[in-house]
């Protein structure tokens, strides 16, 4: 090759490399947000974009095999541990399932001893209105306070240094079937809290409390007249089916919206540039669809609201007139990414109904919706009208058993959150592969008792594996790689800058896999199934730590914590039939595990 052609070649190579670098860094991922200091983890999603991505890279593919337990901590509560440990500076905060004890651990001392403990003493009867184990999804830190929700409907702010209660506000009423299990989020000095109880015929809402005083600033219901739902002149939904007045009343039989569910027990994201919060609403009640004809607004959908006033900006309904308990409370990851070559501000969601949605987060338009698991309940999502097209053969009817509905009621993925790595551009989704038989029946409404009306039994979907970990490329709209798991995955995922992804299995294995290939790099067997959210932080000594709570439970693990009887296939809302072997594989637990590389 002559000098001239070599230089041309070299120029082209350099250009190509430059473009590759630019293309990779085109993956800015989340928009510019108020980042927490690198080593902290101040909210369960780590940031307002809900990426659950740790920028720490001390632990990486070449040394993770040496990862070992640094310390453990017994929470004293052997129920489903769904929380994410919160770390600020040299203190770690963990909140337990009922009775919702809040522990502060001093990370600066060896063994991370307890610094203080706050016991809120929630009402024990609240355990009777918690559909899916008495879980709590985590605390949040804000300006010197740690804020938690308790099962009986209180939101409490505790001084982060002393553990003394600063304020306590009661928002939920267990006699109506309400409880609170979600992790609060603090946006612009307001604590956002939503209720649980869609299986108890409650009316769902989201409320904002002043973070300093605990006083109610605004409260928006998710069913009912527009003035309750805070739908006003700013409301500009993208699709025609969401336009109209008082749709939260008109799309229900009379009074049914008052007991119609649409709760907020999952995740909230925030975009500081657009100044919008995004959260999903739960399923309509009851599960028996014949008792609530109509589209059942504003259930199973996504709201964008103004965080200062609560006024709604747009709404999109993933599963109108939901037939299968497809709540829409999953996490919304806010990304800036190319869609058909054009860079856009999007919101991506591995949705419960089995589709991976990419949406314009300014307008609510659905840009794409692709199944990320086996799907026969919904044929496709029509992008023009926005409607999910239901499969007529998979519509449950009273008095009959409809079989092999996929995905089952927990969906292709339930609450357990996925993570995103800007380095790979992949969304890491821990999820499940279950189908179900369903027989709805007329259900009586009695406040404080379940309002469901369906007998359901679940079992493994095609392939026989009940769990699956998918690395999904939202740009190409295809999976990059997949790991099949025997048991369903009910834990969250953590992505790190060391190009590792962490997740836990229901029989207790905590795993680290390569972020690019999915190859298993390390695993450790904890003492109970893992359904919590792993986090990573920089300790006071500068090392990177990975922390996760171990303790099986939740809706998926009900057979263990409730000691349910597998002879009843409908026990545990159908879960007992899906995991009848779980009692043999794990017992209950409640221990925090923190891992690090040897010094």
């Amino acid at each position: 090759m002559g000098f001239r052609s070599a230089s041309v070649f070299g120029f082209r190579l350099a250009l190509g490399l430059l473009l590759a670098v630019v293309a990779t860094s085109a993956w800015c991922g989340p928009p510019a947000v108020a980042k927490a200091a690198d080593g902290n983890w101040t909210m369960p999603a780590r940031d307002y974009a809900s990426t659950r991505f740790s920028p720490l890279d001390q632990v990486n593919g070449s040394n993770v095999a040496k990862l070992k337990v640094e310390f453990t901590f017994s929470t004293g509560v052997n129920r489903g541990q769904e929380a994410a440990p919160i770390v600020v500076g040299s203190t770690m905060y963990i909140v337990t399932p009922f009775p919702n004890v809040l522990y502060a651990l001093d990370l600066s001392k060896p063994g991370a001893p307890q610094k203080w403990k706050y016991e809120p003493h929630p009402e024990p009867a609240a355990q009777g209105v918690a559909c899916c184990d008495v879980v709590n999804r985590g605390a949040v830190y804000w300006q010197g306070k740690v804020i938690i929700n308790t099962l009986d409907g209180n939101t409490i702010a505790v001084d982060a240094d002393t553990g003394k209660e600063v304020w306590k506000t009661k928002l939920g009423d267990i006699n109506k079937g309400e409880s609170v299990t979600m992790a609060p989020l603090v946006v612009k000095g307001k604590v956002l809290v939503g209720n649980s109880g869609g299986e108890f015929g409650v009316r769902g809402w989201i409320a904002a409390l002043d973070a300093d005083s605990g006083k109610l600033v605004w409260k928006a219901f998710n069913t009912g007249p527009d003035k309750d739902v805070l739908i006003g002149p700013d409301f500009k939904p993208f699709y025609a089916s969401d336009k109209g007045t008082d749709l939260g009343v008109k799309s229900w039989p009379p009074d049914a919206w008052k007991i119609g569910g649409s709760t907020v027990w999952g995740w909230i994201s925030y975009d500081p540039e657009l100044d919008l919060i995004y959260y999903g609403t739960g399923n309509p009640g009851p599960w028996n669809p014949a008792q609530r004809p109509g589209a059942n607004k504003w259930t199973s959908g996504l709201f964008a609201r103004d965080p200062d006033t609560g006024q709604a900006r747009w709404f999109y309904q993933f599963s109108p007139h939901d037939l299968h308990d497809y709540d829409a409370v999953n996490e919304s990851l806010l990304l800036d990414m190319p869609v058909n070559g054009v860079r856009r501000k999007v919101l991506v969601r591995p949705e419960r109904n089995g589709f991976f949605y990419v949406m314009d987060r300014a307008t609510g338009q659905v840009l794409s919706a692709d199944p990320y698991g086996y799907e026969n309940a919904i044929l496709r999502v029509d992008l023009k009208s926005g409607n999910a097209i239901y499969n007529p053969a998979m519509q449950p009817q009273a008095g009959r058993v409809t079989r092999h509905i996929c995905p089952a009621s927990p969906g292709a993925k339930d609450w357990n959150p996925s993570a995103f790595s800007p380095r790979t551009g992949l969304v890491y989704i821990p999820h499940i592969n279950l189908c179900q038989d369903s027989e709805p029946s007329e259900v009586n409404y009695i406040a404080g008792t379940p309002y469901v009306g369906a007998d359901v039994r679940m079992y493994a979907g095609p392939g026989g594996n009940r769990g699956v970990f998918t690395a999904w490329n939202p740009v190409t709209r295809k999976p990059a790689w997949e790991i099949k798991e025997d048991l369903p995955l009910w834990s969250g995922a953590l992505a790190t800058a060391g190009d590792l992804v962490f997740y836990g299995t229901m029989d207790g294995w905590f795993k680290a896999v390569d972020a690019r290939t999915g190859a298993l790099k390390w695993q450790f067997k904890t003492d109970s199934g893992i359904i919590g959210q792993p986090v990573s932080y920089r300790g006071p000594d500068g090392r990177q730590y990975i922390a996760v709570l171990s303790g099986v439970g939740g809706w998926a693990g009900a057979i263990v914590v409730g000691n349910l009887d597998p002879r009843d296939q409908t026990a545990g809302g159908g879960w007992v039939n899906a995991v009848p072997d779980l009692k043999d594989k794990t017992g209950p637990g409640g221990t925090l595990y923190v891992f690090a590389l040897p010094k």
Binding site: P124, G128, A130, T449, P450, D455, G562, L564, D565, A571
Partner: protein
């Protein structure tokens, strides 16, 4: 014997057997539709086997025994089990939010009068209190049905398979599981 005599005997035997079969079907059990509308005070069953000093014996309320051997009351209990949303927390006996009712483990006692007390009084960790919301007879009927779920009623009184999704073996096929102690499920009940 002459054929005439034989046919007479035969016809007498046939008539007698038919009468016996017919009469045996009469009044197989009493059905009380009508229960006293006044509120009656129930004795509280003991929930603990620990008694200070010597054991005082107390006979179980015979009302309970009557309900748990009566097929009508058990099937009425099965109807009420869905009407009052018991299946919402306890599924079809396997449990869900509430514990399983078809096994031998009982946190608060598995005799019919103890179950009756649990329903009406409620229990601290989430069982609602139904006193004043259902009649005493309904509570006994429900208790009888719950006893049937664990196979603890006579097999000719137990209801057969349910219409609809056959998710559990019918109570006639569940083996009898008398309530037993050493209830490990109570360990997961946290202190308030």
């Amino acid at each position: 014997m002459s054929s005439r005599f034989r046919s007479d005997v035969a016809s007498i035997v046939v008539v007698a057997l038919t009468l016996a079969a017919l009469l045996g079907g009469c009044e197989r059990e009493r059905r009380e539709y009508h229960s006293s509308p006044t509120a009656t005070a129930q004795p509280h069953p003991r929930l603990s086997t620990l008694q200070p000093g010597d054991m005082l014996s107390a006979p179980m309320d015979p009302v309970g025994l009557h309900f748990e051997n009566n097929a009508y009351h058990i099937t009425q209990g099965g109807r009420l089990y869905r009407w009052f949303n018991c299946n919402g927390c306890h599924a079809n006996g396997g449990g869900s939010i509430g514990p399983a009712l078809m096994d031998a483990q009982w946190r608060y006692g598995g005799r019919i009068d103890q179950i009756h007390a649990s329903i009406l009084e409620g229990r601290p960790n989430g069982m609602p209190s139904w006193r004043g919301k259902m009649t005493d007879q309904q509570a006994w009927q429900l208790s009888a049905y719950i006893r049937a779920l664990s196979g603890n009623v006579r097999k000719d009184a137990a209801p057969s398979r349910r219409e609809g999704m056959r998710a559990t073996p019918p109570p006639t096929r569940i083996p009898s599981q008398p309530p037993r102690s050493g209830d490990d499920s109570a360990q997961t009940v946290p202190a308030p």
